[in-house]
């Protein structure tokens, strides 16, 4: 009888002190969500071409000169804000000679779909500073043109002169 009572008491103790230790657990799941827009692509589509140049006679190519002005096309997300930076040479070179090249503050332009193309673009760019513009609101495109002037000396050696003109397009995140 005593043994049974002890067993009963032990079981009651177990129920009272063990069961409450069993705990409920709840979980919930949310999502982290981000929409990544299209990456930028920049393609050089036309060289800045001065053609034949006569020693002692400067020659300019205007940014509206189709086929001779330098041209890039940019592709990205619609309306994305971009910074446009040019890295300009101060001379064109052969292996042994150099010829000055000059870029004016109005020597570059862009078309974002709001202008009339190369002949009447949406706006001018100053190739010597950072420019901030928006890509085409409909398709995320932009075309950029640049002209310039070469200044051969009267004793400029003959040859084919060249130099790199680089453009850097950076998304601002706006």
């Amino acid at each position: 009888m005593l043994k049974n009572n002890i067993t009963s008491i032990l079981l009651i103790v177990i129920v009272l002190f063990v069961v409450p230790v069993i705990q409920a657990q709840e979980s919930a799941t949310i999502q982290a969500v981000a929409t990544v827009l299209s990456a930028l692509t920049v393609t050089g589509t036309n060289d800045l071409n001065f053609g034949n140049v006569t020693p002692g006679t400067p020659k300019s190519v205007d940014k509206t000169d189709v086929g001779n002005a330098g041209e890039w096309t940019v592709s990205g997300s619609a309306s994305a804000e971009v910074q446009i930076d040019f890295t300009l040479p101060d001379s064109l070179r052969t292996a042994t000679a150099a010829m000055d090249i000059i870029f004016l503050v109005t020597d570059a332009s862009f078309e974002d779909g709001t202008g009339g193309g190369q002949a009447s673009p949406a706006g001018n760019l100053n190739p010597s500073i950072t420019n901030t513009e928006n890509l085409n609101a409909a398709n995320g495109s932009m075309t950029i043109w640049i002209g310039g002037q070469v200044d051969p000396s009267v004793s400029q050696p003959g040859g084919s002169y060249s130099g790199d003109i680089e453009i850097t397009i950076t998304l601002t995140g706006n």
Binding site: N4, T7, S8, L11, I14, V15, V19, P20, V21, I22, Q23, A24, Q25, E26, S27, A28, T29, I30, Q31, A32, V33, A34, T35, V36, L37, S38, A39, L40, S77, A80, L171, G173
Partner: protein, 158 residues
Amino acid sequence: MNRFWILIIIYFLIIATTLPLFAADESVTVNNNLTFGTMFPGIPKTIDKSSANAAEFSIGGDAGAEVTIDFSLPTYLSSGSNNMQIIFFTDGCAVDSNSTPNQSSPTYDDLNPWQTLTYDLGSSGLTVWIGGKAVPGFRQPAGTYTADIILTVQYTGL
């Protein structure tokens, strides 16, 4: 069958029938996803825990009961086979126990979501916020990237 085994059976019957009474009436509700919105390749974006775009959970249960809160956090958001890194900062979580939760000035701020958090439920439970940072690569393919954030709440019994 001796009396001992009868008592054992009674014991388990008691457990089976009374456990729901002991189990706490807790709940976890999702109020808001962690929403980064649109992002540009190469430009990271941070959503602060005080932002309307931060993730928000509500925990309900018995006022005064102590609970542990554990997050299961992803390291990448995915879009098909493409991944994008996501970072959760060690001070990127906040908890409020007031009946009117204040996200901009919560009861407990700058908490580490990588560790177990232990708090008492308020009269209206707890509200939990978590922010994060998504880091797209320069060549991150376009798309909608998602990942699960799991919050698990457990009573400590205190």
